[in-house]
């Protein structure tokens, strides 16, 4: 072992483990942790047994807690944009599904289809799966059947600006019978390659509307 590290370990033996970069924790290792500052009470509830609860008359000194967990995937393995989206995907799609169900109550008796628009096929698959689960959690009927466009439609629509392309695709879904009268489509869209937010639009009866 490096003598400097040994000396540092001896010097800091009394200091509690800390996720911040320091003598015994590299920045690289520190960034591998996801941490949140929480109150003592929240920390006791989430990690029982690891922290002494607050006394009935309060603590002698102010205490705070930092809860950390290891990231599932090594930092840098995914593109930063995809990491930002996927790390909070469940929350994001749950909000989108809740918005779709509440803003369009007229579609409550329809079967929902989900179409993600994201440049990565792997991320698209995760978004679609999570969104279908979220819709079902909100009591909607969901189908796995895909909506399709003819090659000629794709060729034309992909050259259009987003504000025109999504309504055009929606009209074509209805015209080619891919999206029937009993169906509604929830499109989850990454509109710009630099953004980390997901947008949602609904297509029903050949008419497109942005939800958020």
């Amino acid at each position: 072992m490096n003598p400097f590290a040994l000396l540092a370990a001896a010097l800091l033996a009394y200091v509690r483990p800390d996720p911040a970069p320091g003598l015994l924790m590299s920045k690289e290792r520190s960034r591998q942790l996801e941490c949140a500052v929480v109150t003592t009470q929240a920390a006791v509830e989430r990690r029982p047994g690891q922290l002494a609860p607050e006394g009935s008359r309060g603590d002698m000194a102010d205490r705070g807690a930092v809860l950390c967990s290891e990231r599932l995937l090594r930092a840098g393995l995914r593109a930063p944009r995809d990491e930002a989206i996927l790390s909070t995907l469940e929350l994001r799609v749950s909000e989108l599904a809740a918005t779709a169900v509440s803003v369009r109550p007229d579609l409550s008796d329809r079967t929902w289809r989900v179409e993600p628009f994201h440049p990565s096929a792997q991320v698209s698959a995760k978004i679609a799966f999570a969104t279908k689960n979220a819709l079902m959690a909100h009591g909607a009927a969901v189908s796995d059947r895909l909506v399709t466009l003819a090659a000629g439609d794709v060729d034309v629509i992909t050259r259009m600006a987003p504000d025109l392309a999504y309504p055009a695709a929606c009209a074509r879904y209805a015209a080619n019978g891919s999206l029937g009268e009993g169906d509604a489509l929830l499109a989850v869209v990454l509109r710009d390659p630099l953004e980390t937010a997901l947008h949602a639009g609904v297509c029903a009866d050949g008419r497109w509307s942005w939800l958020r």
């Binding site: 400097f4 010097l11 911040a20 705070g64």
Partner: protein, 201 residues
């Protein structure tokens, strides 16, 4: 997001920095200036205002602040800071002084920066609460060990000595603010596309 790229070309922005217990007026001004420079480097036309955003469209702007606002403000970003906690380091200082600062005194604090971005009419486009935690270790032991570590075996991008930590913290904050502003800009475009044609500006 690369905060040096022209991500916000020709976007008219107003940045409102709100002083509070966590940030003095001087610190608020400094933050506002830096955030303004950050967005100007990305192509935005920025006006800074000390104080909260008013409900109405650019009501809080004075005549002096208005010249770049010939067109409506696209994004109004409001920044507020608050302290989450600060530890009492007196025991730590006592131990450190008893060991002639070979063992370090450790000061710890956590803070949050609340960011709210609205469009010119006050419609909420994005909001986020960014949290940070600062650990400062004082003492000759820590100083010597860190100096040695930086000099002898830490990679350049892993070094901690000097103001590197402040630089890392600022860079993280600026990247997050840039990403939020960019997301808000796209969200505004979606809302414009959603609005009925007759209601669009």
């Amino acid at each position: 997001m690369d905060p040096t790229a022209p991500n916000l070309s020709d976007v008219r922005m107003a940045v409102y920095c709100v002083p509070g217990p966590a940030l003095s007026r001087w610190e608020t001004n400094k933050l506002c200036q830096r955030v303004s420079t950050l967005f100007e480097h990305q192509g935005a036309l920025v006006t800074t205002v000390e104080g909260p955003a008013a409900d109405g469209e650019d009501d809080a702007l004075t005549d002096d602040e208005r010249p770049v606002m010939e067109a409506p403000i696209a994004l109004r970003m409001e920044l507020r800071s608050r302290d989450l906690y600060t530890n009492n380091a007196s025991l730590s200082w006592a131990i450190s002084l008893m060991t002639a600062t070979v063992l370090p005194a450790v000061e710890e604090s956590a803070f949050a920066v609340d960011v709210v971005i609205r469009d010119g009419s006050g419609f909420l486009l994005a909001s986020e609460s960014l949290q940070g935690r600062l650990i400062t270790r004082y003492g000759v032991g820590t100083w010597a060990a860190n100096r040695a570590a930086d000099t002898y075996w830490r990679r350049e991008d892993q070094r901690l000595f000097g103001d590197i930590s402040s630089h890392d913290l600022s860079e993280d904050l600026y990247r997050q603010l840039s990403q939020l502003a960019y997301n808000a800009r796209v969200q505004r475009q979606v809302l414009e596309a959603r609005a009925p044609a007759e209601a669009r500006p």
